[in-house]
């Protein structure tokens, strides 16, 4: 497809379109996997390698991310009989997916390995709950944590809420506007047979659900899930031999941050998030702008995180995020659907990796919905987005993933269809 003119930048745009995601895979999404993170990771990585049309021995690099709650690359590689030329398991949750894709590109570019599998495996419901309940709630409060956890300021919702609240104060953002994110993602999930929550909920139901910590209702929060998810990254040249159309990587940003990462609230505006900085890397590197994007994957740990990022990456004017997420734009059939799988709010909470998987499938024009499979083995998409129907976006050529660690740190990636 034709691309807009080059933008002047000091960024390494010579890597644009030089790497691709060729394989995606996941386990089922459950609340009660009944297996170890090692078994979940092995299952997901094996699915991603098979999806790429590769053999385990074609993979020679592995990256993963975790927060002391998961297995390591060594066990997954061992279980699948893979001899690695490079591996690294990094600390972190949300925002790691896009960051590790960028690292995989760098590793291959440096000649350290050729094809990299990236995974996240988590029993996010049955073992270490991200919301901070269970073992995390009673852990001792040490050192620097006295400035947060000693105040009952610990879970992600509690930590992010001052940003959400200040956005409502600064711009008049309304509860029903952000609640539309959950309602719309639930519509998308109803067309995703593998989503954990496939039932549609209304804005009124979100607003009627109990308050967890203001401004978050229960249904403004994502669903803690047990799952494994994986991607395979390789060079665009090698990708030609893989099974599916290539999802070419246009540009990537990894864990770009606001100032004062020790406590980002020291630097304002508090209602602005890391995307404000990341967009200055993302769009010049990708050579496209937000207006060119067909599908977004804006991290929905909470309804607010989706809204804040879409705003700060420039999909609408600053302060107009509430309107943008509630006027139909981000719905299937709208101008620019967001999280067409149902995302963290409905499909399952993966720390971001499932949103990249979904966009790869959208770019392949092969969203795994309930549309009939034709004689050529491909789904015959109907583009009828009613419940239980299609979720493939028409003519999807360019996608953007906007990953979130917290208001102060985010990652992003633009991919295009081959």
């Amino acid at each position: 497809m034709p691309m807009p003119a080059e933008t002047e930048t000091t960024s390494p745009k010579h890597l644009r379109d030089k790497y691709a995601i060729v394989g995606v895979g996941e386990t089922t999404y459950t609340r009660g996997s009944g297996m170890t993170t090692r078994a979940l990771g092995t299952w997901a990585v094996r699915n991603a390698i098979e999806d790429a049309g590769l053999k385990p021995s074609d993979v020679d690099g592995m990256l993963s991310y975790q927060s002391g709650d998961s297995t390591f690359s060594t066990f997954i590689a061992g279980d699948l009989g893979i001899r690695l030329n490079f591996y690294m398991d990094v600390f972190g949750g949300g925002s790691s997916t896009e960051a590790l894709v960028g690292m995989a590109m760098g590793l291959i570019e440096a000649g350290m390995c050729k094809t990299v599998a990236i995974f996240r495996a988590m029993n996010g419901f049955s073992q270490v709950r991200i919301g901070g309940t269970g073992a995390r709630a009673v852990a001792p409060v040490s050192g620097d944590m006295l400035h947060s956890r000693a105040y009952g300021w610990q879970s992600a919702g509690q930590m992010f809420s001052p940003t959400f609240m200040r956005h409502m104060h600064d711009y008049g953002t309304r509860p029903e506007q952000v609640a539309a994110v959950k309602a719309i993602h639930s519509e998308h999930a109803s067309n995703n047979p593998k989503a954990l929550y496939k039932h549609r909920v209304s804005v009124a139901e979100v607003l009627a659900s109990r308050i967890i910590c203001k401004p978050l209702h229960l249904l403004d929060c994502c669903v803690e899930t047990d799952n494994g998810t994986a991607l395979v990254v390789t060079s665009a040249d090698r990708a030609r031999d893989c099974r599916h159309p290539r999802a070419l990587i246009r540009g990537v940003v990894g864990r770009c941050s606001k100032p004062r990462m020790d406590m980002h609230y020291q630097h304002g505006p508090v209602s602005t998030v890391a995307g404000h900085y990341a967009r200055e890397i993302l769009w010049p590197n990708a050579g496209v702008g937000p207006e060119d994007i067909d599908v977004t994957g804006s991290y929905d740990a909470f309804t607010f995180t989706t809204m804040l990022q879409l705003e700060d990456y420039g999909f609408c004017k600053k302060g107009e995020g509430g309107n943008y997420v509630s006027d139909g734009t981000i719905r299937l059939g709208g101008r620019r659907p967001n999280n067409t799988s149902g995302g963290h709010l409905c499909e399952g909470y993966t720390h971001g990796l499932n949103m990249v998987i979904e966009n790869v499938r959208q770019l392949r024009h092969d969203a795994d919905d309930s549309c009939p499979v034709g004689s050529d083995g491909k789904r015959q998409h109907t583009y009828d987005y009613r419940e239980g129907g299609c979720r493939q976006v028409r003519k999807c050529e360019l996608t953007a993933n906007l990953g979130w660690a917290n208001p102060g740190t985010g990652s992003a990636m633009v991919m295009r269809r081959d």
């Binding site: 620097d144 956890r149 300021w153 967890i212 020790d262 020291q266 304002g268």
Partner: protein, 173 residues
Amino acid sequence: MGIQATYLGMPLDINDLDVENLAFFKHCAQHDFHLQKCSACGLLRYPPTTACPWCASPKSAWMAVEGRGAVHSYSEVHHAIQPAFKSHSPYLILLVDLDTQKGRPTEQEALRVVGNLATPDGRLAPPEMVRRVGIGTRVRMVFADVTAGLALPQWTIDEGATQPDRPWRYPQE
């Protein structure tokens, strides 16, 4: 020496190498609020750090700072995660702009000091007090005593200050 103590049923721990936090909380235990003032650029910082966030100088001295300011943002927690807080819900987590150094070194910056809304004697505030506070409320610092060498800074409504007519509160109430 490090400090181990229990607060609201939570084990708190500062190890003996963590000299910045030990100094910060030791001043709090004396009901004095002190922050590090950079010996090179003169800016105060919060929370404690091992170098200056603006000029990277490692040298600083502890300076008494007035514990007064206005609520910049907040969360009102109804579903407590930590067992210690369940019997105190709903409780407020406040982000307070200190008057001291507000708008410096850039207009978007302030010493934004965390704390719960508390009674004047440092206990977590009752629901009727929680409902009075929002963005803009003037607050003053009080302390929750934990043990020798450790008290937590907290915030209470500054009844002597001129308050906004209506502090900004979450709209769905």
